[in-house]
Amino acid sequence: MNYRALLRHETFLAVLLAIVLVVLAWQSDRFFTVANLLNQGRLMTEIGLIAIAMTFVIATGGIDLSVGSILGLVAILLGVFWQNVGLPLPLAIVAAIAAGTLAGLFNGLIITRFKVPPLIATLATLALYRGLAEGISQARSVRGYPEWFYVLGQGEVLGIPTQLWILLIGALIASIILAYTRWGRTVYAIGSNEVASRFSGLQVEKTKIALYMASGFAASVAAVIFVSRVSTTRSDMGTGIELDAITAVVLGGTSIFGGRGTVLGTFIGLCLIQALKNGLSLAGVKGDGTIMLIGAVLILAILISNVFERSGSR
């Protein structure tokens, strides 16, 4: 653990974010308004929840590619439990989230019991869960949820979008766990040296299974919020969201090889990407140009961070 290097990356990101905000605000007078920023918070919640759990997973040197498919599967199950099985909606939500968490558990079991590399295992379940979602839904969507359900994805609490509260509370709890608990330090230890962790008596397998379950859980909560936001379920929901989440995590300074990363960094990375997407669009840049610029920023941020690390910490 090198706190100084971590501090550097996040400070650098925060400065970058500030510069981006100033430039974008200067480009479009509609960007830096409370209404727009809150709305952006609403739009980034689903990716944010997944990215927070993904930070833990990547910090152990793993990866979870199946989150987008879990999101789609949970969305479909929510609709099926509610409409076809006839459960009351709150119960259907709980059941669907439980199913998504089980999907995460299944990931964890494949990875730990059968020693399949996380990349391969979750690539397989990415196809598996999406296939399940499509098979169960039969290309039909479920609509017409009761009005109270939309509060979650379209409503506000104390003037702030409902789901943004969930994201902020989730981020706070996650960063405390990762930074200040023994469990969080276990995550870093596994990422730094799995063999050494095992010999030190850390519960490597249990921790990993719990992480993939948490990742499935986060994707499930994101699914419920997503369904509430768009007021329908479709089997293709969340396609590609895993890449958005991984981008935010990596931009936030988490090492793809494990052992390094913070929730705060992920959160700043997330805000940076969302601000770029929104601000460039408001400044009149088209979708394809925005994607290119985000790619360039990602490379730049990681290059500069590497330079800092080399000159600073050794």
């Binding site: 479009s28 509609r30 768009v230 007021s231 479709r234 293709d236 396609t239 590609g240 669009s281 408001l282």
Partner: protein, 368 residues
């Protein structure tokens, strides 16, 4: 394993088609039909109350310069390139309208919603859209209406109350009329024809066939309906089914309808390979690019679809008319530039007009 499955499926589809052949069933559905008049007089518009939405506290935009964004299902494919070309053309002709196209790079509901949301924030005057999902897009469109933004859809609808107007590219009875009329022109009033469709339960195809049956009975009563076969929108199966029809009916077969964009080129291919070009006509729904070789070889004379350039052109005109107050709830028609008067149908939809027939002369102008 795979082979047994395929052969089992083939036997199954064969047995269903055999049992179908014994009945006089044509593959249409049981819903009521409304065939158009034989001479093309527009159908009496059933007075249906306006069911679209209304922008809240919209400023007076009459005659003022407006900025409009066009958000198709996705960008980078020929079909939507054609619609945005039509929109750009209309904006240029109208003058006081600045239109640009920006869409997701994949047909993804979330990307499209986010994009529209950003344009609402940026303060456009109007949004043109082709929805990836009719329900998922509705909350964000309602938000646009709440902020006084004009919202007009084309190609793929949202829920009616989430937009003001929707430009409908083709009604079922319109497609049916054009298909049957084109076929009658090619094979004559006493010709006989067969149909290659996707499956008997595919809703759009079943609806088209039912309307075709009603229109043929009404306007071309001497044409003979031989058989309708299923081909699952599968390329090879469509080819085989068309081939079977040619062998089975021989000289009795004058024409084949392709009901899907897969079946039509496959049927044209089957006719070409059987050396029956000129003896067996092929008329069908298809995109121009797939049909260009057969149209160039004069094996196929008419390909029926709608003109996506006109679709975008009409959508832009409808939006301008709504901005100027020339198109209000309750109106029955709208002026759309070179397309003339377009009819309002189903409460808040604008019918693009008769379907477009691609022929040897015009097919080269389209790329989708």
């Amino acid at each position: 394993m795979g082979r047994t499955l395929v052969s089992a499926l083939l036997v199954l589809s064969l047995s269903t088609s055999l049992s179908q052949a014994q009945s006089t069933w044509t593959g249409g559905d049981d819903l009521p039909t409304s065939p158009l008049a034989c001479d093309g007089t527009p159908a009496e518009a059933a007075a249906q109350p306006y069911d679209g939405g209304e922008p809240k506290n919209a400023p007076d935009r009459k005659g003022k310069e407006i900025t409009v964004v066009d958000v198709p299902k996705l960008v980078g494919i020929g079909y939507f390139n054609a619609t945005s070309k039509g929109i750009a053309e209309a904006a240029e002709a109208i003058g006081n309208m600045d239109a640009k196209t920006d869409g997701p790079s994949r047909a993804n509901i979330d990307d499209q919603i986010t994009l529209i949301d950003n344009y609402i924030t940026s303060g456009v005057d109007g949004i043109l859209f082709a929805a990836n999902d009719p329900v998922a897009i509705s909350p964000v469109l309602k938000k646009a209406l709440d902020q006084g933004i004009l919202v007009v859809g084309y190609d793929a609808n949202s829920q009616p109350d989430a937009r003001q107007w929707f430009v409908n590219q083709a009604e079922f009875n319109g497609i049916a009329k054009t298909m049957i009329d084109s076929m009658a022109a090619e094979i004559g009033e006493d010709g006989s024809f067969a149909i290659v469709t996707s499956t008997f339960s595919t809703p759009n195809q079943a609806r088209w066939i039912a309307e075709m049956e009603a229109y043929q009975a009404k306007c071309h009563p001497n044409m003979e309906w031989l058989e309708t076969v299923e081909a699952q929108e599968d390329n090879i199966l469509s080819f085989n089914q068309a081939n079977t029809l040619i062998n089975k009916y021989g000289d009795d077969l004058d024409g084949i309808f392709g009901m899907t964009s897969v079946a039509t080129p496959a049927a044209a291919d089957a006719v070409t390979q059987a050396g029956e070009c000129g003896n067996v006509a092929v008329v069908g729904l298809a995109t121009p690019n797939a049909m260009k070789p057969y149209v160039a070889a004069e094996c196929v004379k008419s390909v029926v679809l709608w003109n996506p350039v006109d679709l975008g052109y009409a959508a832009a005109h409808v939006l301008r008319a709504a901005a100027d107050g020339d198109l209000k709830p309750g109106d029955t028609s709208v002026e759309a530039g070179r397309l003339g008067e377009l009819q309002v149908i189903n409460g808040s939809e604008i019918l693009l007009g008769a379907p477009f027939v691609f022929t040897k002369d015009n097919i080269g102008n389209f790329d989708f």
